[in-house]
Amino acid sequence: MTRSVPIAQVSSESLRGLPGYWIRSLADSWLEPAELARVVDAPLADLHAEWLAARAAERRVRNRWLALRGNAALLRGLAWFGVLALLASLPRLASIGLGALVFPLGLFWMLALAIEPGPIEPVLRDATIIDLWRKPEPVVLPVTARPRPPKPLPPSDRGHADTRGWHRPSRRAPASAHPQRWLDSGSGLGARPPADSRSARE
């Protein structure tokens, strides 16, 4: 808050030709009268007093040096004032920025809550969720039991009956090779079996 200060009622035109005239004219356009009186007019008044005293003493070099130095100090003071004003307004700027950030986010959140869909059916939910990273499981087809072919019967050594009812020996071994048949054939004990049956047994 800037307190009210006494302001010199001096027109800008009356300062023409004095040092700091252009700076004061520029600052007059963007500073309030109280700030102008405090930040610009106060140092300018001291500069004018010094400068006029040097001019009265006809010290030209000092006159120019005072004008140069006074203008530099005036600009430095204005820059310092601007920095302090910016620092003083930082909390207000921060609050504005925070409000500008929080308000749209809050509005978005409220809208999102308002249009949030209710719970959906599990079937639809599973159908809509596509897990791209899940490895697909192999498809297992149902296996039906097929009828197995009948097992072939082992060849019989007993032979088989032919169409006339006569007993026919097996093709795999001659009848003399079977020990029982050899006994039944009446060869008698002690007789040597035929050579073909011995070789078949071996």
């Binding site: 300062l15 405090r38 106060a42 140092p43 302090l84």
Partner: protein, 108 residues
């Protein structure tokens, strides 16, 4: 006990430059900015002393007035600064605090 009665009054913050200005004005009476710069032994600068004076004016430690001069005189009138009652109190408080810090036997 109300909340207001429990509220502690904050002491005014005074920077070293402000303290120099307060002490100079307290010793020599009303002065203008350039005089303060020239008599501060280099502690105050031309470019920043007027901003500091304005801040102290906002705090209520000093007040300013324009010099009375002939209206036909060229240039701007000088702005003089003097201590307010609050400024005088701050100067005395600081002087007392410095004395107590340097002479602890004064503290009972």
């Amino acid at each position: 006990v109300t909340r207001k009665s429990r509220k502690v009054e904050r002491l005014p913050r005074v920077s070293p430059k402000e303290l120099v200005i307060l002490q100079l004005l307290g010793e020599h009476g009303p002065q203008y900015g350039l005089w303060l710069v020239q008599n501060s032994a280099g502690l105050l600068k031309r470019g920043t002393v007027y901003v500091t004076l304005g801040r102290m004016e906002d705090k209520g430690l000093i007040e300013s007035f324009l010099e009375k001069r002939d209206p036909s005189a060229s240039g701007l009138p000088r702005r003089f600064y003097r201590l307010t009652h609050a400024g005088v109190a701050v100067v005395r408080a600081v002087e007392l605090a410095q004395a107590l810090l340097h002479r602890p036997e004064m503290v009972r």
